[in-house]
């Protein structure tokens, strides 16, 4: 059995993603949570690159790490939230939440573990479906109407945020 670089990277990135996702929900300090979530997004971007979905990898970093998380960080820093102001739930609710989540994971994995594993995605170099040329052509021919509608969604979200955030 040979171990390829892809496999090693897959395991490293998976461990990094899971560890930083766990740190997101266990950190007491909200700023730490934000930074761990950014780390999660970077490891998910790494997975996209392994799957040779380069466009989504870069867009994931630009949109999530570069824009959305900056917004979160801004809000947390301006509200001056830190360890002391962080609301705590009692131990039993935490435990119940963890057990519920664990059960969900168990059920989902049990139901999906026997999916037909014949079709592997071993050969990530096979298709260039994640490249910008192919995705761009699809996006601006077949999916051009949803694309335009999403721009209207953005505009309305922007106006909505300004209206909500304004002081009366």
């Amino acid at each position: 059995m040979t171990i390829t670089i892809t496999q090693i990277l897959f395991w490293i990135l998976s461990v990094a993603a899971l560890f930083s996702a766990l740190m997101v929900i266990t950190s007491k300090n909200p700023v730490h949570s934000v930074l761990w979530l950014i780390a999660t997004f970077f490891s998910i971007s790494g997975h996209y690159i392994l799957l040779s979905a380069q466009f989504l990898a870069v867009v994931n970093i630009i949109v999530y790490a570069g824009a959305i998380m900056v917004l979160f960080l801004f809000v947390i820093m301006l509200m001056n939230l830190n360890r002391e102001t962080e609301p705590q739930k009692n131990r039993w609710i935490k435990m119940a939440g963890a057990i519920a989540g664990g059960c969900l994971l168990l059920v989902l994995v049990a139901s999906l573990k026997n999916v037909e594993s014949a079709s592997t995605i071993e050969d990530v170099k096979g298709g260039d479906v994640g490249f910008i040329k192919r995705l761009g052509k699809e996006l601006f021919s077949t999916y051009v109407v949803p694309f335009e509608i999403s721009s209207i969604l953005f505009l309305s979200a922007m106006v909505g945020a300004v209206v909500i955030g304004k002081k009366e």
Binding site: T2, I3, L35, A57, V58, I62, A65, G66, M77, F131
Partner: protein, 350 residues
Amino acid sequence: MHLLVIDWWLILEKSLLIFGIIGLSFFIAMYTTYAERKVAAWLQDRRGPNRAGPFGIFQPLADGGKLFFKEEIIPLASNKPLFILGPALAMITALLTSTVIPWATPFITKGGDVIAMQVADVDMGILLVFSIVSVGVYGIMIGGWASNNKFSLMAAIRGASQMVSYELPMGLALIAVLFMTGSLKMSEIVGNQIENGWHIIYQPLGFIIFFVCALAECNRTPFDLPEAENELNFGYHQEYSSMKLGFYLFAEYINMFISSAVMATLYFGGYDIPFVNEASWGLNSFWMTVISFSVLMAKISFFLFVFLWIRWTIPRFRYDQLMNLGWKKLIPLALLNMIITAAVILLLKK
């Protein structure tokens, strides 16, 4: 049984290139600090640093030595891990941007192997530069917040909102260039300019917008509000001392160097030599690589000089003026530029 199947030769070649570029970035950043003081002195009719070595050329080494031996202070109330992470992130993001820039024509060995003078010619090219620039905000924000000082925090928020705002017109100006090349690959952007002439001829407005945004992204005057030391009580690195402060300052100079390289590559033909057809000279590929590399370095030095020149020419903007310029002037201008470029390209195609 092969445990690992790796092309060691490729790894050696790429790591040599990476270390070369990092070394070069540090060297240029060091001497940009020297050039900054010399240019300032020249514009103000002074002599500038001239004690360390002939014409003071060892001044950067003396400055670096001073920074290294200063006492390292980490404020008691600061968030220690993040306090250290801030300058590290600033430096990493500054250095990462250089990965996709083509530095010279490919070098062909005697065996016929082609060695590209570029760390990675990825399909995403310029978009990758953008993603790294957008992550560069964190170095400032984390450093400012972790200092646990309200002035640092305010400066960090000023700096971050400035960088986020100026990324938009920068991207819009860039889209017009991408319309013309039809590719995001840096090597193809340079190739297109070698064939059809530099983009500055077709995109003068786009270049001006891009340049203004590059000034703002590097926190240079007239947009250096994040570190306005006189009127705004210094910047996000107020609590930093020793080499951590050095990292922030150094990262800024490396950003200047890399953004000059990006501008030269996008608008000024990259490593292309103007007005001549260098392919007809019949030089061997080693000398071609050397010459094209020095041409690119000459263009970069010119941009670095313009950066320094502007610093001593234009006074600092007020914060509301900065935001007005970014959102109300540059974005509409960049959109207009984009629409005109698209229309002209469509008309010419018919």
